[in-house]
Amino acid sequence: MSDDHDHDHSHSSLSDTELRVRALETILTEKGYIDPPALDELIETYETRIGPRNGAQVVARAWLDRDYRARLLEDATAAIAELGFTGRQGEHMVAVENTDETHNMVVCTLCSCYPWTVLGLPPVWYKSAPYRSRAVRDPRGVLKEFGVELPQAKKIRVWDSTAEIRYLVIPKRPEGTTDWPESSLCQLVTRDSMIGTGLARRPAELETTS
């Protein structure tokens, strides 16, 4: 079997894995356990259809609609399903709201549990040892690495996703957005703000980044 990454010596272990993945796919396909078009469909789904735009819509709706916010805090799975986001790695959702007193941050110290239905697939740092090891012990230090400095008096709650409950942080709505429509508010809701490693963008930040 050829290895088209042979030339890249610094990635020799990746080449090995690449061969192993190829071997697995070949064997599993030959044995009829998997159907290659389904693999393409799975990849396509998470590359293009399921991602943090879903969660941003949930948050923006909660900012705008008091009743929706109440439903989201009461039964997040059902409230998120109202917007059409259901299923794998979002079967049991809980929404936690940042307030003047408390900041929330989500981690999975034991693996990589993450609310796929609203945020898509987790970024590499979320699945890696530095974040998983420190988020529960030194969240303020972690937040500093994300450029977020919380006031000393602010309480912090870290949600370790040890079961099949998946957590979505509702960041604080930025000042100066009173009359904004949902579509504009969505632009302020970053993925990190829904993990709790960031805050929602301020309107001024939006102007400079768009």
Binding site: M1, L14, T17, E18, L19, R20, V21, R22, L24, E25, T26, I27, L28, E30, K31, Y33, I34, D35, P37, A38, L39, D40, E41, L42, I43, T45, Y46, E47, G87, R88, E91, H92, T109, L110, T117, L121, V124, W125, K127, S128, A129, P130, Y131, R134, V136, R137, D138, R140, V142, E145, A153, K154, K155, I156, R157, V158, D160, T162, A163, I165
Partner: protein, 222 residues
């Protein structure tokens, strides 16, 4: 199990590596590793808990030195052999040598949206009432099982407070090892920073952990 996956509170892993663009996949093989893992999960041969155990039971040095989708790949290799779907010889040669074993279902492209949208809820009917109430102080047991468990090492033998009762959920410690659902009450338990990490810890830190009833006992009077 006390494997390398149990990272909460460990030190020395360095700064968080933020990467520009943060692609879901960094190479074609990562896409394939992701998709074959999901598609094999959909055959219903093993549970999600079993696949977590396959990954966390990699030797610790190997677990920590492997990238995320390398861990998935190694986990999947273990599972297909363990459940008799593929032989070690087939993995070595990269080709099917033995007849296939029947599986419950094969995921078809057209059913992917429906299967993903349905997910696999793990809540189950309650056979008895919950042992604890919201507000109760509970003591996490000092447990060091060699099997799969979701009581993190940093939260063992510690007092916390029940804040939420999530309902009855499949018990991973059993479900990872072919012992069925064995559903148990699942609680949201709040732990104060100093109770987890000792004196000098941030008093404004609370860590909320989801824990099953078998991990907990009522705390003696504080």
């Amino acid at each position: 199990m006390n494997g390398a996956q149990d990272l909460g509170g460990q030190m020395g892993h360095g700064p968080i590596a933020l990467e520009p663009g943060e692609p879901n996949f960094h190479a074609k093989w990562e896409e394939r590793a992701f998709a074959i893992t999901l598609a094999m999960g959909a055959t219903g041969t093993w549970t999600l808990d079993a696949s977590r155990f396959a990954r966390e039971s990699l030797p610790p040095a190997e677990y920590l030195a492997s990238s995320y989708y390398e861990i998935w790949t190694k986990g999947l290799e273990k599972l297909v052999v363990q459940y008799g779907l593929v032989t070690a010889e087939e993995l070595r040669t990269g080709t099917a040598l033995e007849p296939a074993k029947p599986v419950n279902r094969v995921l078809a492209a057209e059913s992917v949206p429906e299967v993903l949208a349905k997910g696999a809820p793990v809540d189950r009917p309650a056979a008895q009432p919950p042992r604890f109430r919201v507000g109760d102080h509970v003591h996490t047991k000092r447990l060091n099982p060699e099997h799969h468990t979701r009581l993190p090492g940093y939260a063992r033998d510690t007092v916390g407070q029940i804040e939420a009762i999530h309902g009855v959920h499949v018990f991973p410690d059993a479900n990872a090892h072919g012992k069925g659902d064995q559903p148990a009450w699942l609680y949201g338990v709040a732990f104060e920073g100093p109770d987890l990490w000792g004196p000098g810890t941030d008093r404004d830190l609370v860590v909320r952990i989801d824990l099953w009833e078998p991990y907990l006992e009522l705390a003696s009077k504080l």
